[in-house]
Amino acid sequence: MPKSPKAAAAVAERSRLAVRKTYKLYVGGKFPRSESGRTYLVDGDNVALASRKDARDAVLAARAAQPKWAGATAYNRGQVLYRIAEMLEARRSEFVALGVGAAEVDAAIDRWVWYAGWSDKIAQVAGNANPVAGPYFNISSPEPTGVVGVVAPGSLLGLVSVIAPAIVTGNTVVVVASTPQAAITLGEVLATSDVPGGVVNILTGKAAEIAPWLASHDDVNAIDLSGVGDAELATELERAAAGTLKRVVRPAPGADYTTDPGTGPMIELLEIKTVWHPKGF
């Protein structure tokens, strides 16, 4: 992102002093400051620097929101995701002003639309009936794995590309974002898009500080390391995740988020449940 675009805008708009936005966290549908009271400077903005306790609070919020979100109809989740796309489209210029390329914003919008459509189809693609050798009805269906800790890649499209596949199936997420202004602005989009509070929680700060707490948290079901660039940190996180046998989405250095993501990112965060029942008069 270019250095302080807002400063430039302020210079151009001399007639009045601009009102600056304070970038706080997005947790449980609200925008709290870090409980630690810490901020860090990013492109001239003081951005909340999340702590382990913020991570803890975010996991609580994500867990609280998860059953209802997973219990919503797939149609409803699709509607909500589509609404995100609408709101993002409406606030397109905000992201451009933050320095995100217009094409990338467009791609991010389109990605929400793409995943919105998946909500009521993924179960049909990832699940199936099983022709067992006996008088039983037997069907395998995907279910969300639960609460997912996400270390997001450093781009808006990357961010959307890890959040959307997680939540479309009914997971809730705690995201550690490395592009704070864009991430929190996305939080504002989400907050105005019928996304229930707690479904997406965004922490800004240092992955190396926060992610280990997510990886070792007993109430987190999966951890997505897509945005972890440091191989040593990734290994440490994967090892910590083993404590409760979390599902691990391994780091994706150099991933090209402009290409068709396929069903993989959704399927990695799904559990397959197989139900048997006898058939008989």
Partner: protein, 316 residues
């Protein structure tokens, strides 16, 4: 419901509506589960001494049956003679439990069996369809008893049962029981026409509540006769009935049991579900005709050590 001379059980449902509520409140039967359980019991391997013991017990449980339009006094006399001495070559071979014939043949059989200890059963009540007016059924029953039958195998009105008219079926059983007097009453459910195991369980309870001494699977005249899982449902019913009311009821699978192997499966099933108490001709019977010769052949194999052939056993 009609009052009856039979000692009444306490806590019986006392109206058709109560009866319906009661029968529909019985736990369901899962078809796949009961069939799997029966099949599993069927894999028991019964060898050597236990097989010999089982064969003699099975012979003693046979209701040797002939229920044909072509039955004649000659045929019935031969069958009755066989019932007394199934294997003329081996005096250690036990007699069967009973001979089972149509009412018209009862006096013929009675003449052979009198005083032998082998019971004489007669199907009555417009066997096998049961489609006759009640007074005809009762007259049929009285005739059979008067002719010397000490066991009556009646059929229930499956039509009434399937129409949900449980009170009607109940009353008929009560009436036949009364007409049968001292004779033991076996109530044929004709399970092959009841369609579901749930119905088999309900019909079993209905018959027991109405005073049956035995519940019996089938007439042998429809395509599905006795099966292991159907008999298992009935065994569970008599077990639960005794637990609830303290009265023991017998069970008789009939039709389709032709081999020693089949018969032993039933004995294993009794042994492992309701237990010893039912392992006696007083409480369990096989309604069969060709089964007996197979039991005799297997018995001979065990005693002689070589395989037996049909020419060495009497055909009746």
């Amino acid at each position: 419901m009609t009052a009856t001379a039979t000692p009444r059980l306490s806590g019986l449902p006392d109206s058709p509506a109560d009866l319906r509520t009661f029968l529909h409140g019985l736990p369901g039967v899962d078809k796949v589960g009961i069939e799997a359980r029966a099949a599993a019991l069927g894999t028991r391997s019964i060898k050597t001494t236990s097989k010999a013991q089982a064969i003699d017990l099975a012979i003693r449980m046979v209701d040797l049956t002939t229920l044909e339009g072509a039955d004649t006094p000659g045929k019935v006399r031969a069958l009755s003679a066989k019932a007394l001495r199934p294997d003329p070559a081996d005096p250690t071979c036990p007699s069967v439990a009973a001979v089972c014939v149509y009412p018209a043949m009862v006096p013929t059989a009675a003449a052979v069996l009198a005083g032998s200890g082998v019971h004489l059963a007669s199907v009555a009540t417009a066997f096998p369809s049961g489609q006759a007016p009640l007074d005809v059924k009762l007259a049929d029953t009285r005739d059979a008893v008067a002719g010397g039958a000490d066991e009556i195998d009646m059929v229930i009105s499956r039509g009434a049962f399937l129409a949900g008219d449980y009170g009607h079926v109940f009353d008929e059983i009560v009436a036949v029981k009364e007409a049968a007097g001292p004779a033991h009453l076996k109530v044929i459910l004709e399970t092959g026409e009841l369609g579901t195991y749930d119905n088999v369980r309900r019909a079993s309870w209905l018959a027991m509540l109405a005073g049956a001494d035995f519940i019996k699977t089938s007439t042998g005249k429809v395509s599905v006769n006795a099966t292991l899982p159907i008999t298992l449902v009935m065994l569970e019913a008599v077990r639960d009935f005794r637990e609830r009311y303290g009265r023991q009821i017998g069970v008789k699978p009939a039709g389709g049991i032709r081999t020693t192997k089949d018969a032993i499966k039933y004995l294993v099933m009794i042994n492992e579900t309701v237990g010893d108490d039912w392992l006696s001709p007083d409480w369990f019977r096989f309604g069969a005709s060709s089964l007996l010769n197979d039991l005799l052949m297997q018995r001979t194999k065990l005693t002689t050590g070589h395989y037996a052939g049909p020419d060495y056993f009497t055909l009746d």
